[in-house]
Amino acid sequence: MAVNLGYREYFKSDAMPLMWCSGCGNGIILRAITESLSDLQLPPHQVVVSTGIGCWGKADDYMKTHAFHGSHGRALAFGTGIKLGNPDLHVIALMGDGDALAIGGNHFIHAARRNMDVTAIISNNFNYGMTGGQYSPTTPLSSKTTTSPMGVAEPGFDVCALSEICGANYVARTTAYHVTQMKKFITAALQKKGFSVVEVINTCPTHFGKRNIPGDTASMMKHLKDTTVSKTRYDKLNDEEKHNYMVTGELVNRQRPDFLNVYKGYKPGDPEAAGGEGQK
């Protein structure tokens, strides 16, 4: 290899300081993504980040790869087109929890079902940070937010379970605290053919954290460490204990054929002929 591409070949360092609040983990996820791209030595012109709207949706402004910044909730739909237009590209959709699972929920479940070869990296901070801390589709039941002052009356999505049942090929959960694990999962997801999801449980010291987690920004980050366990450990907990923890780790890793693989397997002009791995 001629040139070693360090993370700064992907990270637009002249755009610093980053726009996120003190103690928000978005910058940590951004660092992990750029480190993963560097580990894989992917040329920046073969990578497209597709972002939605929200705090995490601003991440494209710090990337030196190709980038698409579109409308709220649609990063995966735009990313689907980007991939269809040039299947050689690595397409990474960066979405927050509201972006991916409320307004963008339909695109999310169908991208997973279709098994589009796109990587979704979801920064889940359990609320809409940019608009002032309203509850989102992942906010845990009874949590306080600016639109649930007495406690939210809806249970939150399990993003990874949803991804699995919809058909994603690779699903992993980590936290903004677990930086080494995060990079490992993102690297694996980027290499995976088919739809891959990395959910990163994140802090929001300004809004969700302030209302639901005691202590300073470091305490909120420590909270991520203290309330997550590996799948092996989780499975050994009793039901009551399980209630207090979230599972981290690689939760799905399978080899369903992706959309383009199946589609290209069909013979043009011959609707009768079966083809592609999807037919087996």
Binding site: H45, V48, A77, G85, L89, F259
Partner: protein, 380 residues
């Protein structure tokens, strides 16, 4: 199936799909909706043989998003829908306009609002096409009136979108979309096909939103070494977010000027009937076919009537319409809505020529009687 040879009896929607394929479209992303679905069906059947892809998205929001994404990856892309689906596309249509993404949106209009007289014809999306997405913006819309025009205007729609880097709307209607007429598809080699201008500078010197002398930035594709940052947020020529007042002003001004400065080039009209007339009909699409019949009927009653048919609707051909208003005794606008085009005609009516509306909102092709009634009123 393969490309139809010789003279064929063909549906308007089929002709549209073949126009797109011959214009070089290789990605169709859509969602089924009557009366446009035949366009999707032809694309699903035919695109793979051209190395293209048909994808059926989860809704029209996703459809136009995929179209925009695929175009940014360098493929000519399009979608087809009807009123309700067109409404769902509006936010992302704005994204396409703002990011300057060439693509084509076919809207085979039907009666609304809401589900309305589902699948019956209307021409009531004139203003949705113009102002459906929020914010100041320009748009190009073309209105075919024959099956042959469904083919050729689809090609023109792609050509204009590539030339001006803007989504172009083909504003058809149920009558034209599902009409069968004879057509002979031309040799594709004989067609004039416009491709987007690529950057001539090196990747290091490249700014994705540096406009050329026409105000249109040369376009690199995702995957090129020229890095593209396409943003729905206010951006400078780098494509990155920039919230300065002068950046916003410059961008909005350029997006307007790059179209409005070329209105003459985009404008396409047909003059039908005698030069000098007591009454001029102004119409487009399916309604204009009835107008042509009515020109003859009026003559039988001793009224000299001609027709100005708008083939391009947006940008509105102010000057051509103004000239027509100045040369006639009265104008009757024949349209299948409650006066959307009439409002535009009145806007440019500096000669205070009497303008009447012949409005067909019966969920069927506008009747000659409605237009004749308008003409009789006009000459009263």
């Amino acid at each position: 199936m393969s490309r139809p040879e010789g003279i064929q009896l063909m549906e308007g929607n089929h002709a549209c799909a073949w126009g797109a394929i011959d214009a070089g479209a290789r990605i169709f992303a859509g969602y089924p909706i009557t009366p446009s679905s035949e366009i999707a069906e032809v694309c699903a059947r035919e695109l793979p043989a051209y190395g293209g892809i048909y994808i059926q998205m989860e809704d029209e929001i996703g459809s136009i998003a995929a179209v925009i994404g695929a175009s940014l990856s360098g493929k000519k892309s399009f979608t087809a829908t009807s009123g309700p689906g067109f409404s769902l596309m509006q936010e992302n249509l704005g994204v396409g306009i703002y990011q300057e993404v060439p693509c084509v949106i076919v809207n085979i209009q039907r009666v609304g609002p809401a589900t309305g007289l589902a699948t019956k014809p209307a021409q009531a999306d004139i203003m949705q096409a113009r102002w459906g997405t929020h914010g100041d913006h320009s748009i190009i819309a073309l209105a075919p009136a024959t099956v042959e025009e469904m083919y050729y205007l689809t090609i023109r729609a792609f050509n204009l979108s590539e030339r001006f880097r803007i989504p172009v709307i083909l504003l058809g209607d149920q009558v034209i979309g599902q009409l069968y007429e004879n057509i002979k598809l031309p040799d594709p080699e004989s067609l004039e096909i416009v491709e987007r201008k690529k950057p001539v500078v090196t990747p290091e010197e490249f700014y994705p939103y540096q406009p050329d002398e026409n105000g249109v930035p040369p376009m690199a594709a995702y995957g090129d070494r020229h890095i593209v940052h396409a943003s729905s947020t206010c951006h400078d020529l780098t494509g990155f977010s920039n919230f300065k007042a002068q950046t916003n002003r410059a961008l909005l001004t350029r997006l307007k000027d790059k179209i409005y400065n070329y209105t003459d080039e985009i404008t396409d009209v047909e003059h039908f009937g005698p030069d000098d007339a007591e009454v001029t009909l102004i119409s487009f699409g399916a309604s204009s076919r009835v107008c042509k019949y009515v020109v003859g009927e009026a003559e039988k009653e001793g009224i000299r009537v001609n027709l100005l048919r708008l083939i391009s609707i947006w940008p509105f051909p102010d000057q051509v319409v103004q000239e027509a208003l100045g040369k006639t005794g009265a104008v009757v606008v024949a349209e299948m809505n409650q006066g959307q085009l009439t409002g535009e005609v009145n806007r440019v009516n500096v000669t205070n020529t009497p303008v009447h509306l012949a409005s067909g909102i019966d969920g069927e092709l506008i009747s000659p009687d409605i237009i004749m009634t308008g003409i009789r009123e006009a000459v009263k």
